[in-house]
Structures are given as structure tokens and as C-alpha cells.
């Protein structure tokens, strides 16, 4: 069994109907794994950019990039080596928890409180996916009620 590696792949696609399902069908049809996927239009262009976090052996990763590139609406596929990667998380806490502690923690992870309601506060952090993992580990003691992660976005350095 070849070792499985985590990889971040960016795909530039023509911004047209059903292009996202072409990408995801390729992964499901060929048994590749998607850890996370983010997509948004590239400003002032007819393209969108997808950031896919995936894992597999070297051979599988090579096939993923080649097969993605075979899709007709795909303009470019980047398999990143040296990149800046960020992911966002939103977390909801009961307002009864220690807000000062939570706020301080958030700051350490490029985050802050974004909403304070009658019963809950919502915080956001934006950091490397691994650090987001850490943050979510640490804040467990403050009884988070709901957590949502964005999936990663990445740029080559």
C-alpha cells in the first residue's frame, strides 16, 4: 500500500452550469477522496476557482490532476507545493460561558466575536486548517453548541 498524502489542489474552471458536478462526479466515479472543497467566481473573469483538499498516494494524486485537466471546462490545475492556506470556522457558544476567555482564544487564531445575541455568542476564526483543528479542540471546554467550517482556500506563495 502506497502512503497516502494530504494535498491541496486548485482548479480554474469556466464559470458555467454543472461544472461543479463534473468535478465532484469525477472524484466519486473514480473513488477519489474529497476532504474539503470551496468554490467561488474569480472577480472580473468568466472563471471560478475551486480549492480541493484531498488525499491519496502519489499515483492517485497524479491521476486526480490529470483527470481534472481532461475535463473540457477546466482551464488549469495547480497541485500546490508551497502555499498559504486558510480556513474559516464559525462557532456558537452559550452566552453563559466565559466570554473573555473565548474572545482571547479567538484572537490567538485570527478571530473574534462576530455576534452577541440574547442566549448565544458567535465567533469566527480564520487560520491554517491544522490550527483551526487546534482551536476547535481547545474551545471544547466552553461547550460549543454548533460549529461550521468553510473548507480551505489556498494560494501558492
Amino acid at each position: 500500500m502506497e502512503a497516502s498524502e494530504r494535498r491541496v489542489i486548485s482548479v480554474i474552471v469556466v464559470n458555467e452550469a454543472s461544472v461543479l458536478s463534473r468535478i465532484t462526479d469525477l472524484f466519486s466515479g473514480r473513488g477519489y477522496n474529497i476532504t474539503s472543497l470551496t468554490v467561488a467566481p474569480i472577480p472580473d473573469s468568466r472563471y471560478s476557482r475551486l480549492t480541493i483538499v484531498t488525499s491519496g498516494s502519489i499515483r492517485v494524486i497524479e491521476q486526480i490532476t490529470k483527470q481534472l485537466h481532461k475535463l473540457i471546462p477546466v482551464l488549469r490545475v495547480y497541485e500546490h507545493a508551497d502555499l498559504v492556506e486558510k480556513e474559516m470556522a464559525l462557532v456558537k457558544f452559550p452566552v453563559t460561558e466565559n466570554i473573555t476567555d473565548i474572545s482571547t482564544l479567538c484572537e490567538a487564531y485570527n478571530g473574534k466575536i462576530v455576534n452577541v445575541g440574547e442566549n448565544v455568542i458567535i465567533v469566527m476564526v480564520a487560520d491554517e486548517p491544522k490550527r483551526v483543528d487546534n482551536f476547535l479542540q481547545v474551545i471544547k471546554r466552553y461547550n460549543p453548541k454548533e460549529i461550521v467550517r468553510s473548507g480551505a482556500v489556498a494560494l501558492e506563495r
Binding site: 454543472s18 458536478s21 499515483r59 490529470k66 485537466h69 481532461k70 477546466v74
Partner: protein, 564 residues
Amino acid sequence: MQINGAQMVIEALIAEGVDTVFGYPGGAIMNVYDEIYKQNDFKHILTRHEQASVHAAEGYSKASGKVGVAMITSGPGFTNAVTGLADAYMDSIPLVVISGQVPMSLIGTDAFQEIDAVGISRSCTKHNYLVTDAKDLGRILKEAFHIASTGRPGPVHVDIPKDVTAQIAEFDYSLELNLETYKPHVKGNPRQIKKAMEAISKAKRPLFYLGGGIINADAAYEVRDLVHKTGIPAVETFMARGTLSHDDDLLISMLGMHGSYAANMAMSETDLVIGLGARFDDRVTGKLSEFAKNAGVIHVDIDPASISKLVNADYPIVGDVKNVVKEMLELSSEIKSEKYSSWRDTINQFDELHPLAYHEDTDRIKPQWVIERVGELLGDSANISTDVGQHQMWSAQFYPFTRPRQWISSGGLGTMGFGFPAAIGVKSACPEKISVNFTGDGSILMNCQELMTAVEQKLPVINIILNNNFLGMVRQWQTMFYDKRHSETDLSVQPDFVKLSEAFGGIGYRVKTKDEFDAALKDAVEKNIVAFIDVVVERMENVMPMVPSGGSLFNMMLLEKKEK
């Protein structure tokens, strides 16, 4: 000019030079059929099942080298056609398949005969389109033909809602295509080609591994030149049959699961595999870790994803095999043919040790004999298509192919029912050649309704049924690997194939002796009408030699030597 969507389809087909369309009408595609009725520029062949429409278009394309066109309706019309799309996708056959769809206003309402056609065809087409506005239709059809026929060829599916075929819009087919995301790499990297040629000149036991991409690229004659100029022996894949002529001294027959002993041994002993338009399919390589174990690999393929997918290529060359082989030819003067004479001798010894053969039987007809006999009697004058099973492998092994595009069979998907409709397409593309379909008693029933198409269209396909009252290939595996438990493969209860053919207006023969076979074939050729020649063959015959699934090529099960 301002025309409606249906007229645009017709204009586009005419502009693309399409002379034959295979299809089956229905509610959602009726506007287009109404325009087909009004025109005389191309012929429409009404098959009796949508699956057959696509297979016929495949046969037409394989035999002619042109893009095959099939037209079908929405819902069940489309789902019937999916097998054909998948078959064409696996064998890289250029097709444009046009389907009707329910009107835009009804899409998503679970309307009558609605199905998410582009959703279904996405994984079995090179590309697909749902046309939502008639103003896009011309561009989309132009792109469809372009994408189908360039790069690694494949089927393209265009789904057109009924209201779009009625919608009037501006149409100009002379538009320039601007596909900035689709630019197939057709020219091989010259430096890589040079390196590959250096590797060849250094190799002691090089071997050409010829694949179906050569046929698709119309590169067979360039490949023949390269093989002869270098004197390097060659094996063909199942899909590449006919690249070299059967009587070529440098051809070592087919390799793989049912390849010859010599071909598989040559592949196991070579020190340099020169793969041209071949994709290292599992039916070819057997156990990957043992495949050409001590060899370097040159791999020429138009599809970058095929290179190093299964076997690591030391010299990857992405490009059209015709272009690359032409460049290789220019650099081939360094290679001295004499150098490989002992290697060729070794291979000849392999061939003498275990030639492709079978044991004759005086009482019963051996299926292999039928194929050899057709080869003797019809040879180059026939195009050969097949269904899927034992008869298919025997055809690939024993028919004396002389030219590319003579051999039409379902390789990648292995579609039973492919042969007869494909042969109809072949005959319509090449009326001057006799169209023979080798089939089995299992396969022929999967699209036997096409008797009606062949009779109506006067496309006299000769179907030779190698009838062993078995689903033969599965029976063979059951015999070998399932302790002879012949689960659901006994086809003892059969229709009367003679009457079946006659019921549709064709002709039928039931053949039990060799003389009867000769007479039947001669009669069928002379009468020039659709025929079923139902040949009673030895029931328990196996396709040999055989590499058991997942085994190594050099560990073949061989034909047992007969006691003298």
C-alpha cells in the same frame, strides 16, 4: 439567418458533412424528425432500439473514421442509449449523440419521459451539453463535433429541450470556435522523442506494443513503416488488430489474457516496451508487478492521464501517435535491424513451442475453424465485427486481418449485443465490403431486433452464430475456477435462429458440418441479404491460451498437447 432549433440541427449536420444518422424518434425530438423528413442531404437509418442506434453509429465511425451520429428521444430513449455511450467512451469512438429533452418549463417537474440525461451521461461521455437557448445551439453542435473528433476521441452528448428545437434564433455555423480550455496536445515533445529513439537504439530486446489509439489516429501505415524500418517485433492489443497485416513477419499476434504464448513471453522478456496508443489495460498486463518487469517503457499517448496510470513510463510522450511515429521514423536511421535478429529468433522459438492453435475434431465443428474458414473464404473482402464472449476472442486470435478498420469489436466495455448493430453501421459506411458479425447464441439475442433494420435498409450483414448452447465465456470460467458449477449459463433452450431470421425477412441456415458451412456462407454472400448462419459447434471448447485474471503473463494456461 433566423431559423428554429430543429432546423439548426439539420444545418449543422449537413455542414459537418454527415451522410448517415442512426436514430429512433419520440415525443421530445419530434421537431427535429420533422425537419429530417423535409431534407434529402443525409440518410436516416431507423434502428429498432436506441442502444442499437448508438452501436450502429459506433460501427459506422470505426469503419469509416468519421464521427458517428445518433439521434434519440428523451427519457427511455436516452436511457436505452446509455450503454452505447459508455461503450464508445471506453473505446474512444468519436460520436455526437443528440437527444430530445422535455421543454425547459417542464424540466425538474418529473414530467412525462423526463430524465436528467446530462447528469447520467456525464460519466460516460467525453463532454455533454444541455442546450437552454437556441442561440447557443450552433456553437454547441460545432464544439460537439470538434471535441468528439480531436484529442483522445470520444462520444459527446447534446441534450436539447423540445421548446429549444422550436425556438427561432440567429444561426451562423461559420463561427470560429474559441475553446481556450480545450487544447489537445497533438505534437510530441521532440526532445522526449529523441531520448526515446536513443533508448531504442540501445535496447537489445525492444518490443512494439501497438494499441487501438493507432487505429483511431489513422496511423497504422506509419506504424507499419516504423516496424519494418527498425526490424523490431510487435505485439498488438485486441483493439489494435489489423494495424499490421496477419502475414507480417514482425507481428507476433495479440497479447494479454487470451494473447498468444509468444506475444506474452516476448512482453515478459523484452527490455524496452515501445507503447504506441495503448493504455496498459488490465486484460493486457495481467499482474501489474510482473508485467515487462525488466523493461524500460516508452509510452506514446494523446491522453496524458493514460501515461503512467498503471505502468510507470520512463519516456512519456504526449501527442498524436501519427505525428509522433512520423518523427520517430525520421530519427530511425540509427537503428540497425540486424541487431535484433537473435531476439526475433527467440520469439519465433516461443511461437513454434506453443503456436495459437486448437485441436481439430472430425465429428464436430470447432468454433476456431469457422473463423479461420471465413478468413480463407472472405479474407480482406470482409469487415469483421463481433459481439462479446468466446467467439470474440477466437475472432481476434484467428481471423487473418490485413488492414486497419477491418476489425470492429467492443473492447473496453465488453458489450454483448454490440456486434449486429455495429455491423449494420459498418455496412452502411463500407457497402463494398462484406459485413460479417461473429456472434454467440447468448450475444445475438441481445439486439436481434435489428434484423428488421438490416432487412428494411438492405444492409446485408452475415451473422455467424457460434452456437454452443452456452454463455460460453462465463461457462469457461465456471469450468476453470468454479469447480464446473455452470450456474445459469446453460442456454439449451433456444429459439430457432433460422426461423427468427426468416420471420424478419432475412435468411437462415442451420449448419452442422463443414461442408454445410461452406455452402451456407457462399449462399449468403451470393444472395446478399441479411443472414443468420447458426453453426453448431463443440460445446465445451475453451479459449486458449489464457492468463487467469490477475495472473502474470508468463504463467499462461496453455492448450494441452494432444497425444499422437
